[in-house]
Symmetry: C2
């Protein structure tokens, strides 16, 4: 059980400092910054008697209360001594932030093993070394030296602290948020699987995301993924997919990167999403955060830009998506809102004069059509005819809301990323927006694959 | 010769109106907005006697001066009559913005052919119908209904007006600019090749970009590409690469989309860049706008984020890039700036504490190394240790400037797009920045392929 790491009653920061150029300062500041965190904090420093107005202790052994987690930030050469004190103190868990162990050389690996053995004997759980720490935004706990992400329902395990950090930047941009975060570095004790299981049981975690380079026990990992993924989407980004990447991973976390093809096959079978790029990773997080799973595969497309729907059609075919054929009923329903020039075929090119009302009515008609499972609303925001930059988007989302968001709607607003009004509307409505045909098609592919996985799973259950 | 379209002495807007909900208004406004444009403007309107304080003419035949270009925005059913008047007026060229011709049905195609024949007989050149118009930012001419892009050195032909429009949005975001722009719609007379040849001779055009769906005379097009591409990079985005995309293209511009594989093979041979996605298209424009062509293929990578350089290494292998092996000399040169933990291998992981000085010194050392042709500076902007968000980037660009920008530098600042200070610095320095490992690797691939193309071209010249 590793849940106490995310819900500690007391923390000791060993290597706390008021020097803003040290990681011991960053972790201390991050813990202190969160005003609603209910957790006792003890600062351990050999040198200072007071930090930010807090009295410090020379050693964790001097702290008069029990400690749940000790966060170690002292230099590598004194880590072993500090660990001995933590063992004597009977802490529940240790996070070793300090780097310079197994990722460096064989000697570092040896020291890691010794630490792991000692702690195992003492029944103390260890995260790290060579990690940035953990976070639980639900209780405002940031026990790491990276920034606090926005609050949300994605939980993440990252084998790279900085990939976690970069992901947070992008989440902020796209209005996504984090529930729990863990970077376990060289992972000498607590494993991915344990944290995955904790995320599985955690009620605030709706989506699980992983950046990983190496998997220790492949079979166990696969079983865990399979167990979880039917209930919560799991999004994986794998570093070290290629031989050069694997070599780079080795010098990064000291581990031999797991063969990508095997991992990909396993995660496909387990129903997890294996992304090829950081871009796909973010798109996947976005997709499962805001879109429902479709009931079928058929797409209806509307657009004010012929070129854009041509490019979307190309991407759609590459991702093997299926276009609906418009029924006579649907054509009749759409007719009153279209100018005579418009040919009633899928993709429906309403041409450049189409405005909010057309986007609203046509999106609505397609969403109401039983022959269409997913609606793609393409748009290039027109810089003419006094149109408002957010009106087309507003039309699409109004229709989606009217239909209770039951079917996925994919607003594809090509290169409209800098339109503040649209961005704000997508945030305030908690609604999807995609900026390139490829990302839109990829999002649909993900939704359809998840639908198929759920169908397969249910069919197996019934046939059992 | 089509150059007079881009340098007109007089323009008549036929279908000008003060109604802001009409395209005739948008074109008129765009021409009037540019204060430095030296070109006579005549507004033709059946209904109004005055528009924006300008006296109008009932017919182009009433204009007392010669007209270089007539821009036609009247409804489709009166276009033929208006064309007759233009012929009588002996205009040099006509831009038919009005849609509702060959892209609609066979009858529309028939009318197009008639117009084309009549104008050919009268020696009048025609662009369109079904187009947004043309632009020449060098003289502040915006004879289209879309927005004026930033001034720059990229010239673009787009078979879709809205793809042009979307590209302009993205250019603004990435500090790229346009010299000339043409959207020729159904292209009944003036061809891609003619405009390409004009761009080739135009001294302000340094890069040529194309969005196209169909090519009429493949062989001629290929010859034109080959002739131009050694002197100016040509970046192509092809809509209708797939069968679904081709179908969509047909209802878009009424033309049968050209087979992608054939076009791709031809453009590869001609030394043009054929992009697979809109994202690649923008990255290609960015790459050739700001980066020099490398002398060789070997990459040196520095990073403060192990995970990011692992992901870059994966992307690099997929794009078949080659990593340099660090010489002892280089290792010694870099040593003073690196903490002892750092392993001197490529990619060089300087870990999270690396700041401006490390980025400056290491980038510089790699740029000075004769064994390294391209330097990739990976970074996740650290939210700790009081680092400034732009300092790492500043270090990289300082080193690049010191070395007179002779080798390509690829700053890969993962997901740092919302850091205003970095964005501003990249703009004011006119320096590159990439936000994902894949885009960075793709940019390098483009540079290396261009280098190889130039080498092949020269070798052929010599062997001849």
């Amino acid at each position: 059980m590793t849940s106490f790491f995310f819900y500690p009653n007391s923390i000791a920061v060993i290597g706390a400092t008021s020097n803003p150029k040290k990681f011991g300062n960053a972790v201390t500041m991050n813990i202190l910054k969160n005003k609603n965190l209910e957790c006792e904090l003890y600062l351990i420093s050999k040198k200072k008697q007071e930090i930010f107005g807090f009295s410090t202790f020379k050693s964790i052994l001097d702290v008069p209360k029990n400690i749940d987690i000790a966060i170690i930030l002292v230099p590598a050469k004194v880590v072993e001594r500090v660990i001995d004190e933590c063992i004597e103190k009977k802490v529940k868990g240790i996070i070793i932030v300090t780097s310079g162990f197994g990722e460096i050389d064989e000697n570092g690996k040896k020291i890691e093993n010794m630490i792991a053995n000692e702690c195992r004997k003492a029944k103390i759980r260890v995260m790290g070394p060579n990690c940035v720490g953990i976070q639980n935004t639900d209780i405002e706990l940031n026990a790491s030296f990276i920034q606090t992400p926005p609050l949300g329902h994605i939980s993440m395990i990252s084998q790279s602290g900085s990939v976690g950090c970069a992901t947070f930047y992008e989440m902020e941009r796209f209005n996504l948020g984090i529930s729990k975060f863990a970077n376990i570095g060289n992972a000498i004790d607590v494993t991915f699987d344990e944290i995955l299981e904790f995320f599985y049981l955690d009620k605030n975690t709706q989506i699980i995301s992983l950046y990983l380079e190496a998997v220790r026990e492949g079979k166990k990992f696969f079983t865990t993924l399979r167990e979880i993924s039917i209930n919560k989407p799991i999004i994986i980004l794998k570093g070290g997919r290629t031989s050069i990447g694997m070599k780079a991973a080795r010098s990064h976390t000291g581990s031999i990167a797991t063969n990508y093809k095997i991992l990909k096959a396993a995660s496909d079978q387990a129903g997890a999403v294996m992304c090829e790029t950081m871009n796909e990773f973010i798109i996947a997080l976005k997709t499962f955060s805001v879109l429902p799973i479709p009931k079928g595969e058929k797409i209806g497309v509307l657009t004010n830009s012929g070129g854009t729907s041509v490019l979307f059609s190309d991407a759609a075919e590459i991702f093997d998506l299926k276009f609906a054929t418009f029924s006579e009923e649907l054509k009749n329903k759409m007719s009153p809102y279209l100018i005579p020039l418009v040919k009633k075929v899928n993709p429906l090119d309403m041409i450049a004069s189409a405005a909010e009302e057309q986007y609203y009515q046509i999106t609505k008609a397609m969403l109401e059509d039983e022959n269409i499972d997913i609606v793609v609303a393409c748009c290039v925001i027109p810089p003419f005819l006094e149109m408002k930059s957010e009106e087309h988007y507003r039309g699409v989302i109004r229709a989606w809301n009217d239909l209770k968001r039951e079917k996925p709607v994919i607003p594809l607003f090509v290169f409209s990323e800098n339109f503040e009004a649209v961005t704000q509307l997508s945030k305030s409505e908690e609604a999807p927006i995609f900026y390139t045909p490829n990302n839109a098609a990829y999002a649909i592919k993900l939704l359809i694959e998840r639908k198929k996985f759920i169908d397969r799973y249910r069919a197996n259950l019934i046939s059992k």
